[in-house]
Amino acid sequence: MNMMTKNLVESGFDVQRIRDDFPILSQQIRGKPLVFLDSAASAQKPRPVIDAMVNAMETQYANVHRGLHWMSERTTDAYEGTRDAVARLINAPSRDEIVFTKNTTEAINLVAYSYGRGIMRPGQAVVISEMEHHANLVPWQMLRDACGIELRVAPVTDAGELDMVGLEALLVDRKVGLVAITHMSNVLGTVVPAVRVAALAHEYGAKVLFDGSQAVVHRAVDVQAIDADFYVFTGHKLYGPTGIGVLWARRELLEAMPPFMGGGDMIGTVTFERSTWAEVPHKFEAGTPAIIEAIGLKAAIEYVEAIGFDAITAHEGRLTDHALARLSAIPGLRVLGAAQDRGGVFSFTMQGAHAHDIATLLDRQGIAVRAGNHCAEPLSRRLGVDSSARASTGIYTTEAEIDVLADTLLRVREFFT
């Protein structure tokens, strides 16, 4: 046992025990152990999440919020219990401020529609950054084109950090109604100084939204400490199922915003002449929700909480140091971004080898990475790369897996040179 593993075991973090909770990790790919380094795209699921979803379907399933029977009441309790778990996870002041969506993309589209069209006015602006996922870019372009709201892009530095001076320059005319920024880049791993961004936005009268898709997996998030106005994330990157995401917003914002979609469950009363809306958060949850997926998300949250974010962040910090040391020692390999505060996401290019060819060769050795633009095409352009390969870690990733990646990349380099 090396020192790192020893420290983690002593702090209650036993990566092998965690790996045992993820049935898929014992798979072999073409006769080789799976080395799953694509958790930033979607993470694997631990047994408690799988069991919670199966158990709900086998023992207590019905529609929520409408049945006057045992099954519906139990299912409603389980579904609504997830709201409490999410509120606890991100330290939201109230469970009623938690809105369930399909994923991060839908949560941002909800804000772009309900806040952008409902509250913002033509002539105002939205600020994003150069390192946004398309999910936090395209909805704002659509808002711009539909409603005459300007879209401004805050620069990132060559190190891949948010340029705070450049951000402030976009805010000084006080036309910005909303700053919508990633909390952690899905390409560079950069963790954005959310407290400073929120303070700056507020200083110039703007609200602030953080895309927490990556950050919520790797760091303890406290929306009150950040002083955020909106915070969004998705379940499937947090070891939960697909089909369930979260929008948190301050109650007064949710109350002022018009509904996003109309239908059942989001109404007060309905006549042919008019309808009234349910109270928040239900005003934003039209139709039968993702019940089983919400139950799975609660199990995922409880799973990471039981491990604890102190241990998760410490594990990831050691993995990150190790990965950067190993990758940067490979001749011709360029790791994109060099932020001071970064998490376990490593995008890289290799001289003489295209990212797709790298990914195919790694795949044949059982190593799963992503290749391409990572849904952040403008960032690739900003960095001057056509595409890159990306390795990303999860709570189950080991140093030994990073070594397998680095050793195999050395062979990939030989293959292509």
Partner: protein
């Protein structure tokens, strides 16, 4: 290591992928179109010089993986001096070969392209083979852009 990828990364594919001979604009080209694979960032621009109902010469410019570049280079070689109707049929046959690995009604032109059929074992890479063909057909149809999606 990597012996099991030698089917796709054969010496022929690697030669065309690394040292393409048609990676240029033919003199006097009269049609061109871009092909984009938005998921990966690969981009190919194909240029053709026509002579009546035939493609007299084809060339390309690309940024992409070895498979895309090899496919573009082999395509330009295969379609030069071919009737446009034959090129359209060839495009369908290449797409089918890339998906299935089979070379039905395999004539000399298709046999030349046959090394690309290994891509059928790599479903996520089939688009790398077909992207240049999308761009070529777009150029012949008078369009400016195409996509592998």
């Amino acid at each position: 290591m990597f012996d099991d990828v030698r089917d796709l990364y054969s010496s022929e594919i690697r030669d065309h992928g690394r040292s393409p001979t048609h990676a240029k604009r033919p003199a006097g080209f009269d049609a061109a179109a871009k092909g984009d694979n938005p998921m990966c960032g690969d981009r190919v621009q194909v240029f053709v010089r026509r002579d009546g109902g035939r493609v007299a010469e084809a060339g390309f410019e690309a940024r992409g993986c070895e498979i895309t570049i090899a496919s573009a280079d082999l395509m330009c070689e295969a379609v030069s001096n071919q009737p446009i109707d034959r090129i359209r049929a060839l495009s369908d046959q290449v797409a089918a070969m890339a998906r299935t690995g089979h070379c039905d009604a395999c004539d000399a032109a298709l046999r030349r392209l046959h090394p690309l059929s290994a891509v059928h074992e790599y479903p996520s890479r089939v688009k790398c083979v077909t992207l240049p063909w999308h761009a070529l057909l777009a150029a012949l149809d008078g369009e400016k852009e195409s996509t592998s999606e």
